[in-house]
């Protein structure tokens, strides 16, 4: 983790990831939150790998049409988004 030291007093930041195997380049994320995502060829990537928690980031991650965006708690690794609604899959 290149930014592992950057957590002093900043617990709860989110690690942002776009799975390029899943991403279809819909542009939903970078069109909705240009400060967090940007186009990269015909796909998308996070602007920064770690971000402060915001409602907008959560909405965009949950709203990705193919669920390509994951947000995890930087320290615990717990999945923040997408919200798991089905325990059986």
């Amino acid at each position: 983790m290149t930014d592992g030291k950057d957590t002093g007093g900043r617990n709860g930041r989110w690690r942002v990831r776009v799975d390029r195997r899943v991403c279809i380049g819909s542009g939903f994320c970078y069109g909705s939150a240009a400060s967090h995502f940007r186009p990269d060829g015909i796909k998308s990537r996070p602007v920064r790998p770690v971000a402060e928690p915001t409602e907008l980031l959560l909405l965009v991650a949950d709203g990705c049409p193919v669920g390509a965006i994951t947000l995890r708690d930087q320290l615990t690794g717990a999945l923040v988004a997408p919200v798991q609604e089905h325990a059986d899959d």
């Binding site: 380049g25 819909s26 542009g27 939903f28 970078y30 069109g31 909705s32 939150a33 240009a34 186009p39 015909i42 409602e55 907008l56 909405l59 965009v60 949950d62 709203g63 990705c64 049409p65 193919v66 669920g67 997408p82 919200v83 609604e85 089905h86 899959d89």
Partner: protein
Amino acid sequence: MTLTQEAIEYPFDPVYQLELDPRYADLRKAGGPVRVRLPYGGEGWLAVTHADNRTVLSDPRFSRAATIGRDIPRVMPDIRSTLFDDDPVLIDMDPPEHTRLRGLVAKAFTSRRVADLRPRAEQLADRLVDELTAGAQPGNLVESFAVPLPLLVICEMLGVPPAEQAAFRAWISAAPPVSGMSEAEMRAARGMLEGFMQRLIDSRRAAPGDDLISALIAARDEGDRLSERELVVLALTLFVAGYETAADQIGNIVFALLTHPEHFAALKADRSLLPGAIEELLRFIPLGASSGFPRMATEDVELSGRRIAAGEVVFAQADSANRDETVFDRPDELDFRRTPNPHLGFLHGPHHCLGAQLARMELSVALTVLMDRLPGLRLAVPASEVPFRVGRLTRGVEALPVTW
């Protein structure tokens, strides 16, 4: 490059069936946005390349909300506020307000939730084919299959009871084309639809279920995240958007396959081609028929070497983008093995079709069931006699006479 470009009249006249106006190919050669003059409101810009369309549809400097209620270049004489009087619908909003409202429903439309719906969609498609084949030949595949399938699926998602589904289906099939309606007729039709939706919301509020309307009511009543009016307008948006474009594309795609018999035969012989075929047909078929939903530059923006001044309006043209020869090899040919296929058939950016995954599932179910059940499906009239509707937001087969 000339700095002042003479504006061309836009939109172009409707073209034949599923053809795309050849002028777009010429316009793309210039490589940048094109100056256009609309029937009302003066001049604006038209994005014709893939890259420019992606930018116009996703860059936050191009705003949907800024166009509302303004004297912008447009097709119709009146300055529209929004589709539902003054209540903004999703397509009239910008992030982050748009993101908040869309977020309330987005989870119902993700790949996983849509996969859960597939078995039910297959049952409905099977039942529709049962009803079609029980009738006389030729049948009308639009009325019997392409329209009711997505309508029944969105009714299931929203929790519309079966009795009401029949009434709604009858109402929809009787509805005249939108642009052919007078203002008074549109108001009356909208009033009926709103009354229908309000009754549905009232009944779901009294007896909540595991459906999208009930979830939206909970967001309104418990979370206080929606006004009652927002709730009605949002439910109506989903209802209308949820079936019409999908119905049009099912009809268009079946027509395209029936008029490209070698491609259809290859698909029947190798079903693993189906996902790629659907993407390619979404690219190839020019679904957009109108010049709706332009964006306004909120500051001066340079777009492919041309300056879009703050306050100027840009029209996206995804059908042209989907034939961009710098992105798609042999763009005017169908190629079910085309990869990658970054088509803009569901548009792009914050307004990328909310129902894209649902539409993909419905198209896959529709084609699978038709190929399984009606392997001899063919047109009952010459292709040139198949009528297409004009004057709607999207292009679609009006009636598709088939035998099997």
